[in-house]
C-alpha cells in the first residue's frame, strides 16, 4: 500500500495527552510517525490538512446494521459507509437481525460480509437469549469465540430476572460484557413516547421514566450479585444516570452510554406527531436531557453511542402509534456531540475520549490511539465548517432522522481505517 502523508493538522488524542501541530505519516496501514519533522517517500499520497483536527477514529458501541434480514433498511456495506462518513472507524452492531445473531454461524456471516464489503471495522454483539425471546441462554461462549465483543438483547429487555442473573454469571466466566437495554416491557406496554405533559396532550400512551429506572436498578443489583461487567445502553432518564453514578461510587463494574438524540432533544420533538422523533428509549424531559449531558460531563456515562437504527419509509410514514422506533445516527453524531462543546457542557479534550478510548474500555479492550505503530484509524474534522444536514446526501439506505435540515458546526471530512481512506 502507498504511504499517506496527512500534512499540516492538529494531531489530537487527549487520552494520550497529545495535542500538537504537524504532519502524520501512514505506512503499511499503521501510524509510522507524526510531528513537525516527518519524512516521506516521493510517491506518498499527500493530504493537505489545512490545520484541521486529526483524532483517533471514532468507535460506536451501539448500532443496527440490519444485515442479515433487513437489507432494505440497511446493510453492512451502506451502514459502514455511513459510519465512515460520520468519522467512525469501528462500529458494533446489535443482534436483532433476521436471523438473530444468537449463534456463531450468524456472527461469522456478519464478519465475512464485513471483510468483503465494509468500509469500517464491524464488531458484532451477540444475543443473550435465543431469538431474543428471553427464554434460554444463547451460546455466549461460542459467540465470543466467533468474534462477538459483547452480548445484548438490545431492542428487547430480558424481563426474566433469573435468566438475566444466569446470563451475567455465565458471561462473567467468559469475560464477556453484558449490554442491557432497559425498558420494563410491562410498564411500557403500548407506550410510544415519553410519559409526561406532551404525551398527555397528544393522547399517545406513555413510557414512564420508571420503566427504564427499575430495570437499570435491577441489573445494577445483578451486577453486584454476579460481578459481571454491565453496560447500560442509551441511558435516557435522570434516574438511571443517578443509579449508574451510585453504582460507580460503590465500585461496581457498571458503565453507561448516552445517545446524541437523548442529549439534544426532548419529547417536545414529538409534537405534531413526528414519527422521526419516535425512538426507544423515548426522548425525555428537559431535566432528563440535562442529566444525560451532566452524566457525560462528569464521567458517569462512559461514551457516546449512536443507536443508529435505520428504518424504511413504510415503517415511519404511518400513524405515530404504529411507527417503528429509532433513527439513523452515524452522520449526525459528531456534529451533535460538538454542540456540547460549543455550549460549554464538555471540552473537546473530554469529548474525543467519549468517542474513542472510553468505548474501548467499556469492552475491556486496550487502547492504542495515536501512537507510532498503532493501526492508522483516523478521523479528520473541520471544526469550523458550517453545514446543513440532508439525509438524502448521506450514505445510509434510510432517512429516518429528526435532524433533517439542521445547521451544524463541525464536520467530519476524512476517515481512514488501517491507513485506507474510507471517506
Amino acid at each position: 500500500m502507498k504511504e499517506t502523508l496527512i500534512k499540516n493538522v492538529r494531531i489530537f488524542d487527549p487520552t494520550l495527552r497529545i495535542d500538537q501541530k504537524g504532519d502524520l505519516r501512514i505506512s503499511g496501514g499503521k501510524i509510522a510517525e507524526f510531528g513537525s519533522k516527518v519524512s516521506t517517500s516521493k510517491d506518498a499520497e499527500v493530504v493537505e490538512g489545512k490545520g484541521r483536527l486529526l483524532t483517533p477514529g471514532f468507535i460506536d458501541l451501539h448500532s443496527h446494521l440490519r444485515d442479515p434480514g433487513f437489507e432494505h433498511k440497511e446493510d453492512i456495506e451502506s451502514g459502514t459507509r455511513s459510519a465512515a462518513a460520520g468519522g467512525f472507524t469501528t462500529v458494533c452492531c446489535m443482534a436483532n437481525t433476521k436471523p438473530v445473531n444468537d449463534e456463531a454461524s450468524v456472527t461469522r456471516y456478519i464478519l465475512e460480509r464485513a471483510a468483503a464489503k465494509a468500509s469500517v471495522k464491524v464488531w458484532p454483539i451477540g444475543a443473550i437469549s435465543v431469538g431474543l425471546e428471553g427464554k434460554r441462554l444463547a451460546g455466549l461462549g461460542e459467540l465470543k469465540e466467533a468474534g462477538c465483543v459483547a452480548v445484548s438483547d438490545d431492542g428487547m429487555t430480558l424481563m426474566d430476572s433469573q435468566l438475566m442473573r444466569l446470563a451475567m454469571d455465565y458471561a462473567k466466566g467468559f469475560e464477556i460484557p453484558v449490554i442491557t437495554h432497559c425498558i420494563d416491557a410491562n410498564l411500557s406496554h403500548l407506550g410510544a413516547m415519553n410519559e409526561g405533559v406532551v404525551s398527555c396532550k397528544m393522547g399517545i400512551r406513555g413510557i414512564p421514566n420508571e420503566a427504564e429506572d427499575v430495570i437499570v436498578a435491577r441489573d445494577i443489583f445483578l451486577s453486584r450479585l454476579t460481578d459481571a461487567r454491565l453496560h447500560v445502553a442509551h441511558v435516557s432518564t435522570a434516574g438511571s444516570v443517578e443509579l449508574i453514578r451510585r453504582a460507580k461510587a460503590e465500585g461496581l463494574p457498571v458503565t453507561g452510554e448516552g445517545a446524541p438524540h437523548h442529549f439534544t432533544l426532548t419529547d417536545e420533538a414529538c409534537l405534531n406527531y413526528d414519527t422521526h422523533a419516535k425512538m426507544c428509549p423515548p426522548l425525555r424531559s428537559e431535566a432528563d436531557r440535562e442529566a444525560v449531558r451532566r452524566g457525560l460531563a462528569d464521567g458517569t456515562l462512559d461514551c457516546i453511542a449512536t443507536d443508529h437504527a435505520p428504518h424504511a419509509i413504510v415503517d415511519k410514514e404511518v400513524e405515530f402509534d404504529q411507527a417503528a422506533f429509532g433513527i439513523i445516527g452515524f452522520e449526525t453524531a459528531f456534529p451533535l456531540a460538538y454542540r456540547l462543546v460549543e455550549e460549554g457542557v464538555l471540552t473537546l479534550e473530554k469529548l474525543i475520549p467519549l468517542m474513542t478510548s472510553k468505548p474501548l474500555a467499556v469492552l475491556g479492550k486496550s487502547y492504542r490511539g495515536l501512537k507510532e505503530g498503532a493501526p492508522a484509524d483516523l478521523t479528520l474534522i473541520d471544526l469550523d465548517a458550517a453545514w446543513t444536514y440532508q439525509a438524502a446526501e448521506g450514505f445510509s439506505k434510510s432517512r429516518n432522522t429528526p435532524f433533517e435540515g439542521w445547521k451544524f458546526k463541525g464536520k467530519v471530512i476524512g476517515t481512514w481505517v488501517e491507513g485506507k481512506k474510507v471517506f
Binding site: M202, G203, I204, G206, E319
Partner: protein
C-alpha cells in the same frame, strides 16, 4: 347573511380554536339550527361540494351526524369505512387519503384509532380536514356540541363548575372538553379512579378528585364518560361492578347534586355501568339534546370549511 372567513383551516384540536372562533362557530350554528325543524330539511349552501366521511373506527352517532349535516347542506356525502375499503387490503392511511384527494373532495371528515392521524392528513392534503375523533387524543366536534348544549341550558359557560367523570386518561372527549371548557372560563374537575387520570392532567388547569360523592354537590354540569373496555387489555380498575359503585351516576348519588344540575354523556352509553338508566332517561339528562345539537354544529363546521370561503370570494 354576512359571511366572514373562519380563522381556522381545519378542525383538528380544541387547542387551535380561540374563544372568538368558538363564538363564531356557535353564531354560524344558530343559523342552521332551524333547518332540522323544517318540513324540507335542506338548504343549498354546499351544493356541488363533496364531503368524504372517512371512518376507520366504528361509529353510529358521529358518522350519521356528519352525513346528515352534509346532506342538509346539499353537499354530496360519501361514506368510507374501514371494512368496505382498500384499508382492509393493506393500503396505508396516507395512500388512501392521497387517492381520495385525487377525486377532489372539499372536506374530509376523519375518524381514526391512532392519535394524530388527522394532523398527518393535513400535511399532504389540499382538502379541509375535520377530526371526528383520533385515538385517545381529541374529538373537537363533540366538545363544540357539548359546549353549545351547556350554553343552551345554562345561558353561560364562564363560571360554571363542570365535572368530567370516568376514563380521563384514554378519552378524546375529555381532552377536547377540558380544553374548550377551560378556554371559555368554566371550572373543570375531573373525577375517576387514580389509575384512569394521568397526573399531567393538572397542566390543563383542572382539579382532580377520586371521590365522586364528595364533589358532586358542587357541580353545575356532570359529564359522564363511557368506560371504554375495548381500549384496555387489562382493566385499570377491579371490575365494572366496583367501578359503577364508586364512579357511576345513579339516583342515589344524584340526590346530593344541585337542583339545577344537568347531565351529559357523549354516547354510546353503557347503561348500568357509568350511568343508571333512570338517570340517562331522567329530567336532568341532556343526552339527546347533545345529539340534536351535533347535527347543527357539524353543519356549521362543514359550511365554514367547505363553503364559506367560496361564498366570500363570490362577493368580492
Amino acid at each position: 347573511m354576512e359571511d366572514k372567513r373562519p380563522a381556522f383551516r381545519h378542525i383538528l384540536s380544541m387547542a387551535d380554536l380561540s374563544p372568538e372562533d368558538v363564538e363564531f362557530i356557535f353564531q354560524t350554528t344558530d343559523r342552521f339550527r332551524e333547518v332540522g325543524g323544517r318540513a324540507i330539511k335542506k338548504v343549498p349552501a354546499l351544493r356541488g361540494k363533496t364531503v368524504i366521511n372517512l371512518f376507520f373506527e366504528n361509529s353510529t352517532r358521529t358518522r350519521t351526524s356528519f352525513e346528515i349535516a352534509g346532506k342538509r347542506l346539499s353537499a354530496d356525502v360519501i361514506n368510507i369505512s374501514k371494512s368496505g375499503s382498500s384499508v382492509a387490503k393493506g393500503e396505508t392511511l396516507l395512500d388512501t387519503a392521497k387517492n381520495l384527494e385525487a377525486m377532489a373532495p372539499d372536506v374530509i371528515v376523519v375518524r381514526h384509532p391512532s392519535s394524530g392521524a388527522p394532523q398527518a392528513l393535513t400535511r399532504i392534503l389540499q382538502a379541509r380536514v375535520i377530526n371526528a375523533g383520533d385515538g385517545e387524543h381529541e374529538h373537537p366536534t363533540q366538545a363544540l356540541l357539548d359546549l353549545l348544549t351547556i350554553r343552551d341550558h345554562k345561558k353561560k359557560i364562564a363560571g360554571l363548575h363542570v365535572g368530567i367523570v370516568g376514563d380521563i386518561a384514554h378519552s378524546r372527549v375529555a381532552r377536547s372538553n377540558i380544553l374548550g371548557l377551560t378556554k371559555l372560563g368554566a371550572k373543570v374537575t375531573v373525577v375517576g379512579p387514580k389509575s384512569l387520570i394521568p397526573k399531567e392532567i393538572v397542566s390543563y388547569g383542572v382539579s382532580v378528585s377520586h371521590r365522586f360523592a364528595e364533589v358532586i354537590e358542587d357541580l353545575d354540569v356532570i359529564m359522564m364518560l363511557r368506560i371504554q373496555t375495548e381500549r384496555h387489555e387489562r382493566l385499570p380498575f377491579p371490575d365494572l361492578r366496583e367501578y359503577s359503585r364508586f364512579f357511576g351516576l345513579n339516583l342515589q348519588i344524584l340526590k346530593k347534586a344541585k337542583k339545577d344540575v344537568v347531565i351529559m354523556h357523549p354516547g354510546p352509553v353503557n347503561r348500568g355501568v357509568e350511568i343508571a338508566p333512570e338517570v340517562a332517561d331522567g329530567p336532568f339528562s341532556l343526552i339527546l339534546d347533545q345529539v340534536k345539537n351535533g347535527v347543527a354544529v357539524r353543519m356549521a363546521l362543514l359550511y365554514l370549511l367547505g363553503g364559506a370561503e367560496t361564498a366570500a370570494k363570490v362577493e368580492e
